[in-house]
């Protein structure tokens, strides 16, 4: 089944790829993320992620100032010394941003020239000219790819793809062991030195839906098999994920009962979700699996928009969303018009647009938050469902005053 994907002008609200630093610097504990950028990049990270205030974060912006604009190649050697002295990282990720892209800084060569035998400096394309939000994690993992050891041709184990926190990683290890699936590791792991071996017998199981390119490269360059399944969100996705992964390993498992029980436990949430009309405006690149979960939970998906859709990597999710209006690179103005017209029960939207949408009388929820919550697998299902039901319940509790505009008077002159 080939779903129809509408494509619009891309005037949606989201963040640039640099925001992936916010979780990846914490995930890869012996790393440093160096953005070659301007005051704008620093102001972005400071405000949007609110993380720059910590004493010595393992990331920073090499600041391009006016005098640097005329230089052909920036000189970062002194900064690298400073970073090494302060942080002793095992790897430095050098992220591009819009200005050096426009200046045509030759990043590959720059990263190579800054690399030291014991300290690789890896170029990560992340600029807002090309990359949206979590998409830049794909670039980081691609940069790590050459450092994954080559696995033996008969090493038939799974590598989970995508950054998840330790608790989720433990969950997936335990679950795999229970099903008899041997685990080679996670890409990324918590440390640069602990990257998993990947070879022709490896099964790569993507945990995050925004990693199409690195998955493709793992197949091409290492001959690995990329699991084509649903992403492990919600009881439906989690069951499909594990059954398909086991099948790829030659193991037959039947998780129907497990899924039934998982849905049963979600019943209080499902009672709220059933029949609700939901619209995704596009932001975190997790929209397809999230909408598919809601559809299976009994919601009507009015529109599922995402900044980037890959027909191959997202094939199963697209098939599961058959009949749903799917838009890539949507036009936010058109969406607001549709929201006014359709009055969805719930809109999932970027940080910038959520409060104004609430101001228009719809219940809206931050899409950004889904990137930072443990919503994977069997154990994440309740958290996932709760993220949709909490705003619905809350607005229902608070409702009586919402429709009289007097309570918004003066809030925006």
């Amino acid at each position: 089944m080939a779903a129809t994907i509408l494509k619009e002008d891309g005037a949606y609200h989201s963040f640039c790829g640099l925001t992936c630093v916010g979780w990846l610097y914490q995930k890869i504990k012996d790393s440093f993320f160096l953005v070659l950028g301007t005051h704008t990049c620093a102001h972005l990270l400071q405000n949007v992620l609110g993380v720059m205030v910590f004493a010595r974060p393992r990331f920073g912006v090499a600041l391009i100032e006016e005098a640097d604009l005329s230089k052909p190649q920036p000189d970062l050697a002194a900064l690298i010394d400073e970073i090494v002295a302060d942080h002793h990282p095992s790897v430095i990720f050098l992220l591009s941003s819009c200005t050096p892209e426009v200046m045509k800084v030759e990043f590959e060569g720059l990263a190579r020239s800054l690399s030291r035998p014991d300290l690789p400096v890896l170029f990560v394309p992340a600029s807002g000219l090309e990359y949206t939000f979590s998409q830049a994690e794909d670039s980081v993992l691609q940069a790590l790819l050459p450092f994954c050891p080559m696995a033996a041709p008969d090493d038939r184990r799974v590598v989970f793809l995508g950054s998840v926190n330790d608790a989720i990683a433990d969950d997936f290890r335990v679950e795999a062991t229970r099903l008899g699936i041997p685990v080679a590791g996670f890409l990324p792991d918590n440390h640069f030195s602990a990257l998993p071996p990947i070879g022709p017998a490896t099964i790569v199981a993507p945990l995050q839906p925004y990693l199409a390119k690195v998955a493709g490269r793992l197949a091409r360059e290492r001959g690995a098999t990329v699991l084509s399944s649903l992403f492990p969100f919600g009881p439906d996705g989690t069951r499909a994920f594990w059954e398909d992964l086991a099948a790829a390993m030659g193991i037959a498992v039947d998780l129907r009962e497990r899924e039934r029980q998982a849905w049963e436990r979600l019943e209080p949430h499902l009672a709220i979700l059933r029949g609700k009309r939901v619209l995704f405006t596009a932001d975190n690149l997790m929209e397809l699996p999230l909408a598919r979960f809601l559809k299976n939970a009994g919601c009507t998906i009015l529109e599922c928009s995402s900044p980037y859709i890959n027909r191959k990597f997202h094939a199963r999710e697209l098939a599961a969303l058959d009949g749903v209006r799917i838009v890539e690179q949507p036009d936010f103005d058109r969406q607001v018009h549709d929201i006014d017209l359709l009055q969805p029960d719930l809109v999932i939207s970027n940080l910038a647009t959520t409060n104004p949408l609430v101001g228009r009388g719809v219940v809206a929820k931050w899409s950004t938050e889904f990137s930072f919550m443990p919503i994977h697998g069997w154990s994440g299902a309740a958290t996932l469902a709760g993220m949709f039901t909490r705003p619905l319940q809350r607005h229902r509790r608070l409702d009586p005053l919402a429709h009289d505009p007097v309570w918004l008077a003066g809030m925006m002159s």
Partner: protein, 549 residues
């Protein structure tokens, strides 16, 4: 090239967005990559705007650059169709400005009915504050029209703006004082002003522009061009407010005296008329400062850091009205350094060459100065609050940049009599108390020792109230405990580092934990100065006698 970790100001296009979002019928369009749209949530999150902020990013993608596509005209037409603004301000971003496109020509090609102004906000030459002030100045000059004065005495209030520091409360406070005087408000701008309002600016009898950072250029221009006198001092504190009221009345009466219709001169009403209930003192600060409880503030030293207006106002208030000592001050606005230094010449401690004003936008240098001074109160920005948490020093936020916690719902002005009360309360609740402190100092055991591991009050509210990031709380906690475990070792140490003998260390442990770090450092400095390699109990006593505590 330097490593940037924290910015005291936003970018130029953020400044442009602040002006557009303040005004009605004005919309900003950023010719920029999608990433530059990040300024949008600063408004919707901090100010919780119930409508879309008045700014749109006209997206420039890598593909557009490769294909030569320019979406700006289409964006301008869409903005016009959707919002019908009177003026659209177009500006480039740090990346698109390098493309050297003729934005004037491109914008003209959109053929919008709305006026389109291309604002040359070079992000490599100006940051948020100058970009905002420059744009407002430009708009005022463009739209103000010569006209006769309003029949009754009236003023313009220039400066309040979107994301300004306590601007909403300041505006309420100014309006209350003006109403008490019987003075009408002609135009408030940029907050809430339309282009039509800017046209009416010259009808006012005077202009109030209390913030150095925004509106004073326009106020002075109105004075030069139309003879509308500008009152550009900030009424921060009770005495400055009294002086300001006096000058305002005098200024308006001068204008009135030249008026052919000879209006009755304004008179200062009894001061109680300025209080919230109309019967009390307009501010409780003069009495509060004289109460016995506040005597201990004579020995408290404060360090103040921020923008120009609030740094100067706060230093004077702490010194003149609360009777505190000033340990030092500074600003991140380099171009205002001369004015701040001149204003504070009599307030700053003389340090050999003269008063030392710290002028820097590198937050680590500010943190280092605070660590060196170990003051009893720090007034700073959100960044100093973080620095002070690590140093275990009390800090209050008196200037932007702010955190969501500085955008509270209640009436908390900085200006006027009400502002003096707000500031005094904030100082009082931030600094360590008086009598209570004596008791703790005297006996050293108030059961507070748990604080040593937990940190002062275990304050992590900024993480809890963080803008978006679910992982932020955990990160903050971790950082907090890590920092506190080493908080007894201040970051700055003298080159000669005396060692502590066992008996002296036992005595040091008896000093209450929240002053122990400072006592330790002072004694170490004393020992180093006097050439003692080991601090014994005798030397500790000698040092405490010499240092007076």
């Amino acid at each position: 090239m330097r490593l940037a970790l924290w910015m005291y100001q936003g970018t130029a296009h953020h400044g442009v967005g602040r002006i557009a979002n303040s005004m009605r019928g004005v919309h900003a369009v950023f010719h920029a990559p999608q990433g530059d749209d990040y300024v949008n949530p600063i408004f919707t999150m901090l100010e919780r705007t119930p409508d879309f902020p008045r700014m749109t990013t006209s997206i420039v993608s890598g593909r557009d650059l490769a294909q030569g596509t320019v979406r700006l005209p289409e964006t301008l037409r869409k903005v016009e169709a959707r919002l019908h603004p009177d003026v659209i301000i177009v500006c480039a971003s740090c990346s698109t400005i390098l493309l050297q496109e003729d934005l004037e020509r491109i914008a003209r090609s959109a053929a919008t009915r709305a006026e389109v102004l291309v604002y040359d906000a070079n992000p490599y030459r100006m940051q948020e504050i100058r970009a905002a002030d420059g744009l407002f100045d430009l708009l005022a000059r463009r739209y103000a029209r010569a006209q006769s004065l309003t029949p009754a005495p009236s003023v313009n209030i220039l400066g309040p703006a979107s994301l300004g520091f306590h601007n909403r409360s300041d505006l309420i406070c100014l309006r209350r004082m003006l109403a008490t005087l019987g003075v009408q408000v002609n135009v408030v701008a940029p907050q809430g002003a339309s282009v039509g309002d800017l046209e009416r600016l010259p009808a006012a009898w005077a202009t109030i522009a209390p913030y150095r950072e925004l509106g004073q250029g326009a106020a002075r221009w109105l004075e030069e061009q139309f003879g509308v006198p500008a009152l550009t001092d900030a009424p921060i504190g009770v005495q400055p407010t009294l002086g300001w009221l006096g000058r305002l009345v005098e200024t308006l009466n001068d204008v009135g005296a030249r008026n052919e219709r000879r209006p009755a001169p304004l008179r200062m009403p009894p001061l109680t008329a300025f209080s919230l209930d109309g019967m009390s003192a307009p501010s409780a600060v003069p009495w509060f400062a004289r109460t016995a409880d506040m005597e201990s503030y004579s020995t408290k030293r404060a360090f103040v850091f921020g923008d120009a207006t609030h740094t100067v106002g706060m230093v004077k208030f702490l010194h003149d009205e609360l009777g505190m000592q000033i340990a030092g001050a500074g600003t991140y606005l380099e171009y205002e350094a001369a004015w701040v230094a001149q204003q504070l010449a009599q307030y700053l401690p003389q340090d050999g060459a003269g008063p030392q004003l710290l002028v820097t936008d590198v937050f680590q240098q500010v943190a280092q100065r605070i660590a060196e001074l170990s003051p009893e109160l720090v007034c700073g920005t959100q960044m100093e609050r973080h620095a002070c948490r690590k140093l275990d020093l009390p800090c209050m936020v008196i200037a932007p940049p702010t955190h969501i916690e500085n955008h509270l719902l209640s009436y908390r002005p900085i200006l006027g009599f009400d502002g003096a009360d707000t500031l005094a309360d904030e100082v009082y609740t931030t600094a360590t108390l008086g009598m209570e402190k004596h008791l703790i100092d005297m006996f050293g055991d108030a059961g507070l020792e748990y604080g040593e591991t937990q940190g002062k009050g275990g304050v992590t509210e900024e993480e809890r109230a963080g803008t978006n990031d679910g992982t932020q709380g955990a990160e903050g906690e971790a950082e907090h405990s890590r920092v506190n475990s080493s908080s007894s070792h201040p970051t700055t140490t003298s080159p000669v580092h005396p060692v502590w003998s066992g008996d002296a260390l036992v005595m040091l442990k008896k000093v209450p934990f929240f002053v122990r770090g400072r006592v330790q450092k002072n004694v170490e400095r004393y020992a180093a100065q006097h050439g003692y390699a080991t601090i014994t109990a005798e030397i500790l006593i000698e040092a405490r006698e010499a240092l007076g505590g």
